[in-house]
Symmetry: C2
Subunit: 330 residues, 2 copies
């Protein structure tokens, strides 16, 4: 039986519906999986007309969808959370935030129950979530809570560069206190396991320092000597292929990028700056450390081009491909 | 009269002497200035033989050099601080650290007296300085102290990217507390003045945020709202062309690089990561905020290729060119 990937449609007023429609045009054979698009058929039909894209071929009602699911071909799981006729493209709307959140809830539930093998998410709008009274700042927090994980880890992945993050959405001044030996080891192990599946071989990790010149022997900070270097040694003792901590400004030059399968970054911008320079809006955002596989596009709702036919589905396509590879046994 | 630039030879055991010899082959007309190479003739002669480079054409003794200086042509100012015959290429040596430091002292003195228009420095070795009992961690601190400046600011400059730094060689955890409105305004003004001279027109500055997503409206940090944004507004009120604070990971994508003449960075790696990716060892390191003009190569002593003929003088050539432009009136 082919694998099943749930794709959540994202904010109905953004580029999500369009990139999902473009994704559905790829056959099961081409993608290597059956897609279940968790969304709203009324929205997809309007967007397909606007963008001159073929409408979805199969749809089943959201209620008890598993019982009516066709055995093959991509399928829209039509939840009816929002009325497509009332959606204003390119506008922040509470009803759209609410619907986008509920597709995600359904996706997580399906993955937890084992009805799908993984979830790939199209972009949501944080302001719309907030307007709808949803307290999660984003997908990652919703997945972490609903799957009962005590923590998780962001990874950015593209063909040329992969970065995992010891810390992400916290103030820079709090980064140092969040870097512990236990956290570092978990992030290294999650990174190793994920990139092994993604690339099909044991990855070489490079751990970035935290401070200028990786602390310059303690002159510019003690975290490298006290926490990061001992963690790298411990990871080596556990059999991992890992080097570092290296001066952060040296890590991302071509020579090191070529010799590295995943950079373990200490804070958000340490990895996001080089990643956005090299793979702007074409990468995949992966959440590690969960009991389910979750990948996401690495771009936003792009309200300025919503429903216009101009949206590029590459990042969503890559997200589905990564999700599929992450479900492989090693 | 042509301008005079003092070039300090750097650590005698590193690539400094070789790149200086290669620089001397460019004529005064080509460079637009007379070079005074502050170094040791005995070292330069040995290196010229090893690297099959022509020896310097003119040299004067270091003592009272100004009185015997030829009116034209590049000149070695031969201080005799180290015996070339005793230098071991590629090795950290106290005598070399000492000599390298004293060329810098002489360079600063000459600039302070007005005997030269600017100083460009070849690379020194920090370990050799330390072995020689020199307490300054690097050039910048020596220049700052000797010129009586209370503070200074690093700028990295290349044809494609310029970054100035609100903080540099301090632990990441201390960065936030060093970002004040006064410091930001000084760095913006110094950056504007320097890039105006370097590029010959009023520059467009882009100020990077400190936190992920530039604080995401306060959710990931308060520095943007409380300090950085008000400073940018104040700078605009003073007539500067400046934008920001922008999310740090968005700053360095091609679109923003093209529209920006100088990025004002909050900490060392925020600017060093993109700079090293785009201009690895070909950039120029400039110290702003001093009463003298000082530029430097953006690479180290490269002991592994010292005296081998393989060293690339591009960064030193660019440093001299920037020094010259920084002495222009605006």
């Amino acid at each position: 039986m082919p694998k099943r990937i749930a794709v959540t449609m994202g904010d109905p007023a953004g580029v999500g519906p369009e990139i999902c429609l473009k994704l559905l045009r790829r056959s099961e054979e081409e993608l290597g999986c059956q897609l279940l698009l968790f969304g709203d058929q009324s929205v997809l039909e309007r967007v397909s007309k606007r963008c001159q894209l073929p409408p979805p071929e199969q749809a089943v009602p959201g209620k008890n969808w598993l019982q009516t699911l066709p055995g093959e071909g991509h399928v829209v799981v039509d939840f009816g959370f929002v009325d497509g006729g009332k959606v204003c493209p390119g506008r922040v709307q509470a009803a759209c935030g609410e619907a986008a959140f509920r597709y995600v809830e359904e996706g997580i539930r399906a993955a937890m129950e084992g009805s799908v093998d993984a979830v790939s998410t199209a972009p949501i709008n944080k302001e719309a979530w907030s307007l709808a009274g949803i307290s999660f700042p984003g997908h990652t927090e919703a997945f972490t809570t609903y799957t009962g994980a005590s923590e998780s880890c962001m990874m950015l992945y593209s063909a040329g560069l992969a970065c995992s993050f010891v810390t992400t959405h916290i103030p820079l001044r709090e980064v140092s206190s969040q870097i512990t030996r236990e956290r570092l080891l978990r992030v290294m192990e999650w990174s190793r396991d994920a990139v092994r599946r993604l690339n099909g071989k044991d990855p070489r990790l490079l751990v970035c320092g935290l401070n200028p010149h990786a602390g310059e022997g303690g002159l510019f900070g003690e975290e490298e000597r006290k926490v990061i270097a001992p963690s790298v040694e411990e990871a080596k003792a556990r059999g991992m292929s890992v080097e570092g901590p290296l001066s952060p400004d040296a890590c991302f030059i071509a020579k090191h990028r070529e010799a590295t399968d995943c950079f373990v970054c200490m804070y958000h911008d340490q990895g996001h700056i080089p990643f956005k320079m090299l793979a702007f809006e074409t990468g995949v955002n992966i959440t590690l450390g969960l009991s389910v596989v979750r990948t996401s596009v690495d771009h936003g709702t792009a309200f300025d081009i919503a429903w216009s036919g101009q949206a590029d589905p590459s990042s969503l396509l890559a997200a589905v491909d990564c999700a599929l590879r992450l479900t492989e046994a090693t």
